[in-house]
Amino acid sequence: MDTKGKMMITCKEATFLISKKQQDKLNWFERLQLNLHLMMCKYCRRFAEQVSFITKAIASLKKKVMNQSAGVSLSDEKKQLIKKKLLEQKK
């Protein structure tokens, strides 16, 4: 994205910065551009809120996968097959 030092950015550019902000620090000028845009744009404010919610939800989803003890499991059929293959490999 090339915003060439302009102060007013488009929604397309603003959403990109919002997205980038989830992983990386924006520089001071990007922050200025984004905040200025957010002051004027309802849709991008929503987008920013929702994206930050999604970031949190993903973190919580990952935790759930790690802690889950019941529910989804590998089929017995597949387990037997893997055991067989492991035995073959050991020989």
């Binding site: 994205m1 997205s19 992983q23 929503r46 996968v65 499991s73 590998l74 387990k79 492991l86």
Partner: protein, 186 residues
């Protein structure tokens, strides 16, 4: 260590965990099953390298992670994606150029963030949305966001530039947001 020499108990002890892990990172059950199988086979082949410093589960998970990276590396095309590629979420003409189209703009979500984060159904929808990400954005998103690999590593594995990576991650987010809105906040 004893368990490792006995594949039967090995599978019983770790297959479900590895399978759930794989399933949260790839798009379907078949691929997840294959990755688990490959992980066990690679594990038994490389038993010597298991130093007992980490738990068996951690060691096997590390192998699985590598398998997941390989899976996406094989799929990745290093074709450039540019920020300027068309996106019909945003207008094309005049003063609306590159601003949200009303019809595609984010709708208001009736959301109590804390409650929603505890909601398992919402997580299930989110997981399905991640699994349905278009392949061209998925690889980057999974490795960077789900696997939490460093940006440089992701670029190296997928052979893409860092600006490409940012665009892909952004496209994946736009897509995820749309999907969640359709699937949950209708």
């Amino acid at each position: 260590m004893e368990q490792l020499t006995n594949p039967d108990s090995w599978v019983d002890a770790y297959a479900d965990y590895l399978y759930r892990y794989a399933l949260s990172r790839v798009s379907n059950t078949e691929i997840a099953e294959d990755l688990v199988q490959e992980t066990f086979l690679a594990g038994i082949k490389n038993l010597d390298s298991f130093k007992g410093k980490s738990s068996e589960q951690t060691w096997l998970t590390a192998i699985l992670k590598r398998k997941i990276i390989d899976h996406y590396r094989k799929k990745s095309s290093s074709k450039e994606v540019s920020f300027d590629m068309p996106d019909d979420r945003f207008g094309k003409y005049g003063s609306m150029n590159d601003h949200w189209m009303d019809s595609r703009a984010p709708k208001e979500w009736q959301l109590n963030s804390d409650e929603a984060l505890e909601n398992d159904e919402l997580k299930a929808v989110l997981q399905a949305c991640i699994q349905h990400l278009p392949e061209k954005w998925a690889s980057c998103f999974i490795l960077r966001i789900m696997e939490e690999m460093k940006g440089e590593e992701v670029c190296k594995e997928l052979n893409i530039s860092s600006s490409n990576m940012w665009v892909m991650l952004h496209r994946a987010r736009l897509q995820l947001r749309d999907c969640l809105e359709k699937g949950w906040f209708k």
